[in-house]
Symmetry: D3
Subunit: 293 residues, 6 copies
């Protein structure tokens, strides 16, 4: 159950309107790694979780915070759009060709569809979609996904920080950057705790019996490109991070098999078959004709 409070987590007001920047901010609201994604990702992890207690409280607690971040960004976007030229022709300022050109860099659906409001889309106007999120039920895998989401998100916010000099916007971003710092650390700590407690270990999923995998290649670096430098990394020799094997380096595959012969599905799928079959095909067609319903 969710309760809404008409407060924001942090105060910030833009110095001035900026519709082009409003479009850019959409990335961290409704993009692949935007706030809708993390809010939904953590919530679905909570609803699918098989264990009560600290991990479930964690995903619910942070999930709810992230919906509030969606709200902060949507509010900021509406403020940035409020007085910005958005293409209304009789505005004197619009007649300036440079202004007209700038309008070309906005999300035109901000004006036409939302009437100067935020939308659940990314900075190119692609609608947010459910396929962005990850909630597998395996917490070590999912916390890795969460750490990744917070890293990609913080990279994007850091880039956006340099794309404006508006103090109000930068204040909001400085707040989001700090929370991303916390959340990166938090998911890495949670992943470490899972392993310390023995709930999960590497490789994920840890309780699949490794005896069932083809262990000859479990710790082999197989190089399918012609760059030799990959042999220099710590993935090419020495103990593997899971503590269960030693890396070795190989140039190309260590196993191979001939390509199997082509398949021959039922002829009524009308795929093209080998030429020796042409005669048979003609016979078949004749037979078909005879059998014609």
């Amino acid at each position: 159950m969710f309760l809404h409070k008409q407060e924001l987590q942090f105060a910030s007001t833009p110095d001035k309107p900026d519709a082009v920047y409003a479009r850019k901010l959409q990335e961290v609201l409704g993009g692949q790694y935007g706030e809708i994604s993390v809010a939904m990702q953590y919530m679905f992890q909570g609803w699918n979780m098989h264990t009560p207690g600290k991990y479930r409280d964690l995903v619910f607690g942070i999930g709810a915070e992230e919906i509030g971040h969606v709200e902060m960004l949507a509010t900021m976007i509406a403020q940035l759009l409020e007085k910005a030229p958005l293409g209304i022709t009789s505005d004197a300022v619009q007649d300036d060709p440079t202004v007209a050109a700038v309008i070309g860099g906005t999300d035109v659906q901000h004006a036409i569809v939302a009437g100067a409001g935020a939308r659940p889309v990314d900075s190119n106007g692609n609608p947010w979609q459910g396929s962005y999120i990850t909630a597998s039920g395996n917490l070590l895998a999912d916390f890795q996904a969460n750490a990744n989401a917070e890293m990609q998100g913080r990279v994007q916010v850091a880039r956006l920080y340099h794309m404006t000099d508006d103090h109000g916007v930068r204040e909001l971003l400085s707040f989001l950057l700090a929370r991303d710092t916390m959340h990166q650390n938090m998911w890495l700590a949670a992943a470490a705790e899972l392993q310390e407690e023995g709930a999960e270990t590497l490789p994920v999923p840890s309780n699949f019996p490794q005896s069932k995998e083809y262990t000859d290649v479990s710790y082999q670096y197989l190089n399918f490109s012609d760059g030799a430098a990959a042999a220099e990394g710590r993935w090419a020799k020495g103990p593997a991070p899971d503590g269960k094997g030693e890396f070795t380096y190989h140039d190309g595959p260590t196993t191979s098999a001939p390509m199997p012969p082509p398949t021959h599905p039922d002829s009524r799928f009308y795929g093209t078959t080998e030429l020796p079959n042409v005669v048979e095909k003609a016979a078949g067609a004749a037979q078909d004709a005879l059998n014609k319903e």
Copy 2:
């Protein structure tokens, strides 16, 4: 530049046709975490990489291996479909209602669209899409994304292992599981190496000046749900994994701000405004009428 060799990395032939399982295998070919995703993800990381040497060789080398895994799965799917009942009505076996029912569980586009062949889609028939992949240019973030992809992928292959008892299919899966073990370890090793070399550290991106973030909340656990157990995790006290702060725990936000007043965009967007405005609106409409072109 890519060269194709008419060999597979590993020999495996299914014991028997199984179109329902062929549909399920599509998940790890064309799903969010399937082989097309990792192949494309590593390649785009290579093309966007700013540094030559071991890391670039790594993404190219493994990226090329993964395209070969797409091929192994596509080949297996075609073999599983080859003799399977796929809905052709005159097949005696099809008249059995149970067989008819099983056909309902196949990807019907395998038959109608591909003529008993593989497709670039997931196990629910959703087409693969470019928004599944991650290539930000920041290697620590991206290797985290790669480790996540290999973890999610190995979880899915492990589940699929238990959904068949076909020895040939299981052999292929045992090979893929082993490679996922390697690749998980490899990306974690690569992420560790980046940090040891000082190329990147936490939090990502590490060279964004932390002084520009709102540091008061950089290491605060803020609990927005009512479960108290989140306070027990190591994300709630003690040193953070980045070595730059100490976690603290707080029930709810430590900052807040009143919701800002609503925006008032140009009236020609025809949004609904406050009621005191109704009179003004009428006046405006009258004025508009007078000014009518």
Copy 3:
């Protein structure tokens, strides 16, 4: 700002596992008119709203309720999947061909991707997307959209009611049906109130000067099909609901214009032009060749 409470709005537990029904329930969780849609729609309307007070409180209050409905459905779906056969082969029950067939009717990603958990998708596995929602800033239009969403949603829940005889599931549905009844009534009441207060009237948007529309056809029923019965409806004669015109009926258009001549864009777009142009095209190509850089 949102706070999460580890309670549901209504208690319900399924009598028995049912993975096929879990798939069907996804429609009202993550479909076009599912709970994610209404939650997001009302929230974005709130963030884009230009007026404080009762209407904004309304969309925030109901929006937050709807996120809780997402949670109730996700919880129910996880419960329905918990003990259901989902394709793990060694389960004795799975060897029964009828059971195998039933598994074909499940959302196979419930098993492979989510490990027996809910997903942000519809009943055919299509991911939820941001383009499902409506938040234009014009409240009369948007409340109409909301009433429609609640009507479509209640129709779908009513259908789902008859697709199960599980008492626990039906209890949940009976609760959702009641809330849909409330919400339909509520949005219709809100739309009526907007009009009574004079904030908005018909046609939407009401303060666009109707003098700027081509009023000859503003109240004409133009029949482009050959069925005569459309003339019998109250849209074909009598006063229009907006109180500003009288309907008239016409068989076919009352205005028409010849199709304009084709366009002739720049020849360097390499579109095919009229045949008399062939000579010119050859000349142009020759000229191009001369000018060759």
Copy 4:
């Protein structure tokens, strides 16, 4: 069956080329509420309708008109693009940086993909999709959806009216505005007629027995946000629009239930389970190893 006539419903020619505006017009051709949407929506309602006569004639008659509106907009877009600078470099005008900048505001696929022609996409270049439409078979719900589509559509056309001062374009928009006025009125009249005739009433679907819903909450306003003003609306007291209940107002839910315990699916989905299970898991893994195939 459909017949095409090489005429348009209304004559209009743009004064001058304007590729940026052509992009904006795509919204009402191929956007969520564009003409393709209404044409398809009304047609599918016709094909799915269970009753002959005036309602079916209505959706067929208006559906066919709307395909003609798609044609008018596509024609206008091609005309706006015909002589516009679209990025061909040797055009003198293109060398002007302002012109170059304006080109950045166009839909670049208009040039690259369509060679200066219209496309079935919205103003951000998102392809039109089938999930935009609604055709449930319940006419009261569907006519509500239709009224909403015409309202949203008229709001967008009204906004577009102010984004150009081209007389030819404005003429076309004035025609579309008038038809949207008619169509809004028409669907509201049709919805009213359905109710007067007793074919459908509120709440939709009206013949689902309300006794099967959890009637305690059927007319309760439950406030999940902290704004008190929602209590002032007519949705909070007095008779509901369906004539079947009285609204009441409540701060927060009137029912609640504890969050159910987490689910525990089959261990072979490799979800993370509670820590007490760790021992069991190890035992299970050992057992698995023994049983290894």
Copy 5:
């Protein structure tokens, strides 16, 4: 302008209900190569065409026919669904597990969303989308696309023919097969006529000066796989179909270039750069800190 006539082009009534087959038929209604695709494709080609006369009349004439085919399929799908078990639990027949299993093979949105009606989706439930169509303005390319669409469509209808033994359905399919035969022939004839008249020739686009292409490789077969048999085809020697070159065969590329060095974008994008840069990066960060706003 379009007029609708309440007639179908061909009479056909299914012998019996069949919801699984109804789902399969959706492929040729709303799939990549379904009737919506060809209707939209031909219409957009008409609206974007630069030449009046026979070619424009052709695309308009056939486009309108195809909308009628959408209608025939939608009508048939509704008929196939009319009396079919679709999951309503109290139906006696539904209690049979085999029937329940068959229901699993239906498009469950046919029941839940459309109330036993057709939808604008393919046989896996993916919504139709605007990106399926092709209308480039170059008629030789577009007629090639049209011929392809009719070929793929006829292959799919032929497969569907064998997936039912219902006489009414087969009659409809036999009609569509005949029209596909006509339309394949028609587009090939139209493509031939364009070339005979000299309006377009090969390679498309024919009036791009071939002197501007890197002609060394214009007729070289370059083999990037290790199969030698590709040398046996008529694409490897002899005159090319465009009459402008002679094919030659080469094993691998005839040109090559070293991979260029990595790019080094602005450091404020926070991509990872070469290690020698680490020192510089630290210095830069220090400088940034000094300059801190």
Copy 6:
């Protein structure tokens, strides 16, 4: 199996940065007819092919070449972005409003998401998707699709050639144009060879017995628009290209059938039925109430 070589097929370096052009180039990398599409299309045709030898070698050989073209374009895009202004505010040049405006024409995700790198999207930022490709198993149909893809692709590259005057970019395009020339010719030659060898003929699929189609309309041109000029084409009289029929011309359909009566699905789908049913409906509701569980 695929091997990667750190070489490109052709050397080219842009003269200067150009982020707007980088966005445009994305069309031929990740658009409907971009290099990802042809690479995936040819590969899937290979994996689904039923015949060994020259045709399979052909699709594998060219498919591998096309992945290399993806690489060349991604590399070029990264180079074009390297030094281009992408919105970092402190760059002096950025303060120039014209530069700011130009930035509006870039793909803003190039900066925010990829840090000045290429992405698997088209020129409007739509992600590449699996539904762009065609691999039916019928080689004559599929080679037609391939020829179409190469024609559309060459048209797009030719347009892009005129949208830049950068010599390095033009060199790359001149190389791609030449390969498109080869590939168009190659697929047309392959389609011709299939027919000469008798493996496939027209109409596709050729071994579906034409006796099963409704042959009355197999060679009839049926004109559903009012343009008379379509009668002048060679599709309206004379022998059809498949050599199996003579074209005839008809104004409108030669067959027709009355629209069938509406369907009446189960009343528990809550569709609206005919008015005489109202009484029955009331009775049914009463009955339902009596039967209430």
